[in-house]
Symmetry: C2
Subunit: 393 residues, 2 copies
């Protein structure tokens, strides 16, 4: 692949695509498998067996050759008919995708938009469902990558259940980084993607839909084919499982290794690592004297959004990090462009990635004329790691 600047060492610090463990990258260089030969079937079967654990579900997890957005589309295409009233919750760029998807499919979309950076308020969702009793699908986001906020989808699920509506959660960036217990919390549909905390390349979307949601979709046929749940679940439930379309075998091989790594580390440990990285990041940001953006809380373990100080040109910050320090980090998207910097801790991230990001941030701020006590943020983050008393590399 082309390198940004081959003369300085590169650090991919984005919240998706995320860096891959070497074992995951290496397996993609191996010869391609034919998906219908025994070794290919074995690979596909094993990936399908491994996926439900990260959703904490007994559902079949449907695997699509698509970006995560394809998985989101499948939820709308399968559950929503033109004219249906749905409730879309949007507090950032990815929440807004639900509105766009609903409208593309001709739904009558009730919007709950508390503003970018806000946390979705379950009471407000309850009120809107009370006002719109015909709504039977609620669309929401777990980890809103554009703002760093992780929403309380457990509480949203409870509200949706009480109102007898299906809750569909975009957990693309959250899955494997922020706690999500689909079956225990009663979330009807969870959408995931490969290129976030699942430490795989982009190109696979996942959908875990309850049998109730599958049955509801089956009563609303037509208008879909590639993303049809009945086709996919039907094929995956065969013995052995059979992909309805040619699966992305190279990416499957990568995902298989990545899911094995998650199993080896243990999902609880993976989540605890993300929590630790996020706490260290927040401590570092505070010690640098910067504010977090929006309304994050202890659930915000995926990406930390920092408000760029007023005296700094927010567009220059990620550019400087990239061009001078080799750090590819996320600035803000759309209305937050130039206003925030996002430090990712999503997937294959360890303590020194956070310390590197904070070091880069300190140096870049100084260079952009913002006063910083250099090393203060790094030191504060270090203290969190030391105090944790666990391996952090």
């Amino acid at each position: 692949m082309p390198d940004a600047n081959p003369f300085i060492k590169q650090y991919l610090m984005t919240a998706g695509p995320t860096p891959l463990p070497p074992r995951v990258s290496q397996v993609m260089a191996e010869p391609v498998l034919y998906h219908r030969a025994p070794a290919g079937v074995e690979l596909y079967t094993r990936v399908l067996q491994r996926l439900p654990a990260v959703f904490r579900t007994e559902n079949d997890v449907q695997l699509f050759s698509s970006s995560g957005s394809g998985g989101m589309e499948s939820a709308v295409a399968n559950l929503v008919r033109p004219g249906d009233r749905v409730l879309a919750c949007a507090a950032g760029k990815f929440g807004e995708r639900w509105i766009e998807l609903g409208e593309a499919y001709g739904a009558d979309v009730v919007r709950y938009e508390p503003g970018w950076g806000a946390r979705l308020d379950p009471a407000e969702v309850e009120r809107l469902l009370g006002e719109n009793p015909e709504v039977n699908v609620v669309l929401a986001t777990q980890s809103e990558t554009s703002t760093g906020v992780v929403h309380d989808v457990r509480a949203l699920a409870q509200v949706a259940q009480e109102r007898n509506a299906f809750l569909v959660v975009d957990a693309i960036s959250g899955l494997g980084a922020a706690d999500l217990r689909q079956d225990e919390w009663g979330i009807d549909v969870v959408v995931g993607g490969s290129q976030k905390a699942l430490m795989s390349p982009p190109g696979m979307g996942f959908v875990s839909a309850s049998q109730r949601a599958l049955d509801f979709a089956a009563e609303r046929p037509g208008g879909r084919y590639y993303f049809d749940w009945a086709r996919t679940v039907g094929a995956q439930r065969k013995d052995p499982p059979n992909s309805p379309f040619t699966p992305p075998v190279t990416l499957l091989a990568a995902l298989d290794v990545a899911l094995e790594l998650i199993e080896e580390e243990g999902l609880d440990n993976v989540l605890a690592r993300h929590d630790l990285l996020a706490r260290a990041t927040r401590a570092g940001v505070a010690a640098i004297g910067l504010e977090l953006f929006g309304d994050p809380d202890e659930r915000s373990t995926v990406v930390t959004a920092i408000a760029v100080p007023e005296d700094v040109d927010g567009a220059k910050l990620p550019k400087l990090l990239r061009d001078r320090y080799g750090i590819t980090a996320n600035g803000g998207q759309n209305q937050l462009s130039g206003k925030i910097l996002r430090i990712a801790h999503t997937g294959y991230f360890g303590a020194f990635d956070i310390l590197t990001s904070l070091s880069g941030l300190e140096m870049a701020l100084v260079e952009l004329g913002h006063p910083v006590e250099q090393g203060a943020g790094v030191g504060a983050a270090q203290r969190v790691f030391v105090d944790a008393g666990v391996p952090v590399a």
Copy 2:
């Protein structure tokens, strides 16, 4: 990736996924790029610039993170509204996918089904369009992978133009293996896929739609999002191009190398190589005393389908090739299961792949009790290569 049998050398001889050149495989082991950073944008831009040449078009080629079937679905989702009458031409498994897609989208599908293995007859298409003057979309296949037949899409395009209908061609397995000149022949929409003659892993679908087709689609909005042409073309036409969804960067890197290899070899030479491999295969098959399946002609340069002789158990043939000789070849699909064997020459194939396939076939036939003059097929194929007087490795 798991290996079928680690103790015997493996040969992937299928028509998709196809074997990858080592340079293509290797690039996927490199670190992941962020698609919105300069190096990622450069990669995406270059791939988009390289793609039209293989379609021989001036159109923008839309790139989807999906299997090739996703590209097919996009054509139906963008061009067809519920109740529209469309003409679907199906002479094999992949032609039938057009019927399924049309029906999934609520079209009134007129079927032209001359039987698996037949060649689509342009005169029959003309007759059906005459009988159904309201049809404005014709769905057809270039290379029908399930039967080995490559249809005369040039003649179909002429008929469609005369009747003022859009011709949509599934060229997934044909693109880069069988001649296709989209602009010269006036084909409105051509669908491609990454995992065939484009020598890349599965996971990318391509759609080259004429401006006329794009305009027609724009008059029929709704019911699509991920596969919406206006969204994709709009994003790709930005400067620099911008992917509407996270693109499969690892697969893009592979495709970039593969397209560079095709440019280096030269598309005309690539097509001539496929033609030579196909001719050698047919000569070998004839010398073994076997019949080709269906109605192939000199256009059938993608995969050669062979009728399994009556005295051979057709299900055992690919299994024996695989388990005893390490050759993963395609048997028949659906109604042709057990009746044909397919020898692929799609993409990264050379003379010795054909000679290996023929050798395996000769040995397997003997083992299954069918009399064969061993070496006869290989010898006949060799003579085609020698007579060609060009480098064949």
